[in-house]
Symmetry: C2
Subunit: 207 residues, 2 copies
DNA sequence: TATTGTTATACTCTATAACTATA
DNA sequence: TATAGTTATAGAGTATAACAATA
């Protein structure tokens, strides 16, 4: 993450002769990516940077980073969860989760409450302010989602979510469980028609 | 990146009662991801972490990080390129590219030569040692690629590459040019059969 | 004046060890 | 002894500013 300038990859040739390397005006300096162009890891990182750049731009007006947004969503959806549960769900080490949560609590969006029964743990809840903000954020998120998926279309987006889910579940057996009640099948089926279309949801908001 | 432990997402329940939260043995603490489960950004990052974790594990025996591998591939494919051309192709700031290149040159894998015609720039080439290593690395990479794509199958992999390429090209107009000679169409077509199948290549090695 | 490679530096994200207070 | 939250710290990756040599 932390990538605000995804632009520019090879030498370009759009603007009027900035580089100088391509004398006449041909294709010239088209760098060949070789096997990187067929590497899921390389392309995943590229795509992730492009998407995060848009996210960061979009959420800058609310001064929110992706991780902060994720916490708000999880806590909003699962009130009363312990810190370690939220941090695990987001693959964030509990030690790094502390300052992250602090930033949200300092802004009055999330509250740490004493968990009943175990005085070691903190139960997390959105404040009224946090809940109100989250509602707005969902609109921002839907815009962002639509924008970044525009090049592949809604059908492409559905496929992409499916494929990514399958890949994640494969590399992390734990993720296979999430898919159960979520509606997303484990996505073991790769190609074509993949169980009709009545799946996810047109990116509108939460369910 | 830099993520060696992708495991564990929710609370799990696999091992014999480690958590303690789920008393009996039910589904119990399944954290709901809410809209994150339909967020391409969130899932892209997850998938990228899973894939990079496998890459890092795989290439640890050669003590190579993803970025270092990328440089070797680009330089091997495009001998004589200037530093700034390589760093641009990889979306790495030229200022951060210096120590990265140093690490490869110190190991005798890449050589900085004086570029003919412009004494400011350095032309990059693989050494014999670097070229030999790269050949081995391609086998390692093919294994890695096969492994991480196993859950989605080869057809799923082809689709994924297509979708990611389209998304990248959309967020970065420059990338649209790469796709030309590469064989990958701009991937504006999202769903189903998408121009047959004779595309990429069974993950064997370079072309 | 602009570009290439470089140094120095800072900020974010991530990772490990160790402490505390509970259990 | 083990767990939840916390602190301190170190390491990657990434960002900007400024400089020397060259164009």
């Amino acid at each position: 993450m932390t990538d605000a300038v995804p632009k520019r990859t090879t030498g370009r040739r759009g603007a009027a002769s900035v580089a100088g390397a391509d004398a006449a005006g041909e294709i010239a300096d088209a760098v060949e990516l070789g096997l990187l162009g067929e590497s899921v890891g390389f392309l995943l990182k590229r795509a992730q940077m492009v998407v995060f750049a848009d996210f960061i731009r979009t959420f800058a007006e609310r001064d929110l980073r992706p991780a902060q947004f994720s916490v708000l969503v999880i806590v909003g959806r699962n009130p009363g969860l312990k810190q370690s549960q939220v941090s695990n769900a987001l693959n964030i080490k509990r030690t790094n989760f502390v300052p992250l949560l602090d930033s949200l609590e300092d802004r009055g969006l999330v509250k740490r409450k004493l968990a009943a029964g175990d005085r070691r743990s903190h139960a997390l809840h959105l404040t009224a302010k946090g809940a109100a903000l989250l509602t707005e954020l969902q609109r921002l998120w839907a815009e962002h989602e639509r924008r970044v998926c525009e090049p592949i279309g809604e059908a492409g987006r559905e496929q992409l979510l499916q494929l990514l889910g399958g890949m994640i579940a494969g590399g992390d057996p734990a993720a296979a469980e999430e898919a159960e009640d979520a509606d997303l099948p484990p996505a073991k089926a790769p190609p074509g028609k993949g169980r009709g279309k009545g799946r996810g949801k047109p990116p509108a908001a939460e369910r």
